[in-house]
């Protein structure tokens, strides 16, 4: 049996703290048993030269080793200075209160551990336990920030603080997808997801340490070029023009996608990744909005055509910059409301967290597209023929939309009208499991992190999907409806990784595609299973 790792071990030794051995991962059913003995391929020596050792054979950030002792001491000093700021109201306007409550009140009952898909699927690796990283932070906080903490640490749980511990803690904050399933089951309301978020924030805001996909190629690129994809306004317009042509070719329906319409009722914010990776989603929204006669527009202003706000996952300052930009674009366009497309974290960012930021004329009404779409369906303006969607469908609940915001029923009422062979996953709604790609994981692929995601953090969702369709023959095409770009990315990758298109005929897409696929009057289907149209 392996020695059980404890929070105090975070500062001990210089090797990894955990290794997933063959057979550790939760087993998959047939025909996927060949993945049951899988382990991560080791990181190549030349790729990790000069980097801090991984706590678990993968790397999300890849933190450079300090050059000398002075540099190391300076980093420890900056960490402690940043930690102090996390607990000051002038410096933590977003989450001080829940952080304080979460620091003070954990009873170590482990209800959270049983709820965490990463902990469960990894074969219960101690370092992935939701309270592991929280307890490390809690001990450091109590010892170094509370009066008399160095003395009380002797019996409340001691920890030595050194650079090794800090670097490991930074990496560990990226082994939690911030899905907050743990928080939803905690009997006293401790939010270990929030603690992971606050650790990320400390490292980014105070020490400039963050995964490059989120910061340098994420928010920084978003603010500089206009989109985290790197798309400038010209590229966004070129892509959407192409989508219009494609839509006409694929579905036979001619759409005009409006740009920069002053005074439109709705400013629709898409995740710009949709334009490049899932153009049907952008096209399907246009078909539905146009058919329903809505007054709407896209914005071609930099950042106005990309709803993402990666700051939500790691940095309040970057978060605020992007959120204010979004609101200001809507203000100047004089729209009545902002509608967020199928992007989960953009929902939480602009409708929930930004609520503390947007005041006065920036406080423009903001709405989930799921609600707008339900209104369209229930208005009776459009006619749907559910028989066109004559294939098994299940629904993935994006954590940010469903658990965080409580939007559970609208998407189901829509499916009730368009998907006769719909079945739920178990569990679902606010008890759903994360796709494994939350909090930026879906776009983080440096080193072997994508493999870790597919093997560990996406594993529970993969099992749930297989289970939802277990009564269907392998050769029947099946549709996983995932109304969130990040979730779609994670589901696409898990389908490819486990060869699930070949083995189970699994396909995936958004909600609007299913709606357009059932829309009366369409000449051709928008959904295809490989080369095959979903109806003829």
């Amino acid at each position: 049996m392996k020695d059980r790792i404890t929070p105090a071990d975070i500062s001990r030794g210089s090797a990894g703290l955990c290794r997933i051995e063959p057979g550790d991962l939760a087993p998959l059913p047939p025909p996927y048993e060949d993945f049951n003995e899988a382990v991560l391929k080791p990181l190549a020596a030349e790729k990790i030269k000069g980097l801090e050792t991984s706590p678990d054979d993968t790397l999300a950030i890849g933190i450079a080793e300090p050059a000398n002792k002075q540099e190391e001491e300076e980093l420890v000093r900056r960490f402690l200075a940043g930690l102090k700021k996390l607990f000051e109201k002038e410096n933590n306007w977003t989450f001080l209160q829940p952080l304080l409550l979460s620091m003070e009140h954990c009873a170590r009952c482990q209800t959270c551990s049983e709820a965490c898909p990463v902990f469960e699927m990894s074969g219960r690796q101690e370092i992935y336990r939701p309270i592991f990283r929280s307890e490390v932070l809690r001990r450091i906080y109590k010892k170094y920030l509370k009066p008399g903490g160095r003395i009380t640490a002797k019996w409340t749980g001691d920890i030595d603080l050194n650079w090794k511990a800090i670097a490991r803690l930074a990496e560990l904050s990226y082994r939690c997808s911030l899905c907050r399933r743990c928080a939803s089951v905690c009997p006293i309301g401790v939010d270990n997801g929030l603690i992971a978020h606050e650790i990320r924030k400390l490292f980014s805001q105070e020490m400039g340490i963050a995964p490059k996909e989120l910061h340098e190629k994420g928010t920084v690129l978003h603010l500089r070029a206009g989109s985290s994809t790197g798309m400038n306004p010209l590229a966004a317009k070129d892509s959407v023009e192409f989508i219009q042509e494609e839509m006409e070719e694929i579905t036979g329906c001619k759409v005009e996608i409006p740009w920069d319409v002053q005074g439109a009722d709705i400013l629709l914010l898409h995740n710009a990744g949709e334009m490049l990776a899932w153009p049907e989603n952008v096209g399907a929204f246009a078909i539905l909005f146009q058919a329903a006669g809505l007054s709407w527009t896209l914005s071609s202003e930099a950042a106005g055509y990309d709803a993402v706000n990666y700051g939500l996952w790691y940095d309040d300052v970057q978060f605020a910059r992007v959120a204010v930009k979004h609101a200001d674009i809507a203000r100047r366009l004089k729209v009545k409301k902002i509608v967020l497309g199928e992007c989960g974290h953009a929902h939480k960012a602009l409708t929930v967290v930004a609520d503390r930021l947007l005041t006065g004329d920036l406080n423009i009404p903001r709405e989930s597209a799921l609600v707008t779409l339900e209104d369209i369906v229930m208005s009776g303006k459009l006619t749907f023929n559910p028989q066109k969607n004559d294939f098994p469908v299940t629904l993935h609940d994006p954590c940010n939309v469903v658990r965080s915001m409580g939007i559970v029923a609208p998407q189901r009422r829509i499916l009730g009208k368009i998907a006769p062979r719909f079945r739920e996953m178990t569990p679902h709604g606010v008890n759903n499991y994360c796709c494994g790609g939350g909090s930026g994981f879906a776009i983080m692929s440096g080193y072997n992190f994508a493999e870790w995601r597919n093997l560990v953090s996406s594993r529970k969702k993969f099992l749930q999907i297989l289970q939802a369709f277990e009564s269907e023959p392998a050769e029947t095409p099946k549709y996983v409806c995932a109304p969130c770009s990040n979730c779609k990315g994670a589901i696409r990758d898990m389908i490819a990784y486990y060869h699930a298109e070949e083995r189970s005929h699994l396909y995936y897409g958004g909600l609007v595609e299913l709606m357009v696929n059932a829309l009366e009057g369409m000449k051709k289907p928008i959904i295809h299973f490989g080369e095959e149209p979903s109806w003829k």
């Binding site: 690129l221 985290s228 070129d238 892509s239 710009a272 949709e274 992007c343 440096g446 080193y447």
Partner: protein, 106 residues
């Protein structure tokens, strides 16, 4: 920053082998790199057409175009594109064209 030596020259690449200094790209780079992307022998005219198309698009728009657009603008289908670049358009073709790895939620 990892480096790679191709045809006697050193290039800075990211951990997945994407060129980091776009202006250092040249045809020898693409040719010497082709075998790591499962392309046998010298690059053909069809390969160059795609590579040059990607570079032109990137110079104008700051991104690689969507895959369907690559196919349409070059009059080929997806199958042909994968025949030319077996490791895929995003990984293989963009890498040889010296474009950086796609970013954002794609």
């Amino acid at each position: 920053m990892p480096q790679i030596e191709l045809a006697g020259k050193i290039y800075e690449v990211d951990e997945d082998g994407f060129l980091q200094e776009l202006d250092k790209w040249n045809e020898e780079f693409a040719q010497a790199y082709a075998h790591t992307e499962d392309i046998e022998g010298p690059l053909t005219e069809e390969h160059w057409k795609i590579i040059n198309y990607l570079r032109d698009y990137f110079a104008k728009f700051g991104i690689a175009p969507m895959v369907r657009k690559v196919c349409k603008d070059n009059g080929i289908d997806m199958k042909k594109l994968y025949e030319l670049f077996p490791t895929g358009p995003a990984k293989g073709a963009c890498k040889l064209a010296g474009l950086s790895k796609p970013t954002g939620c794609v």
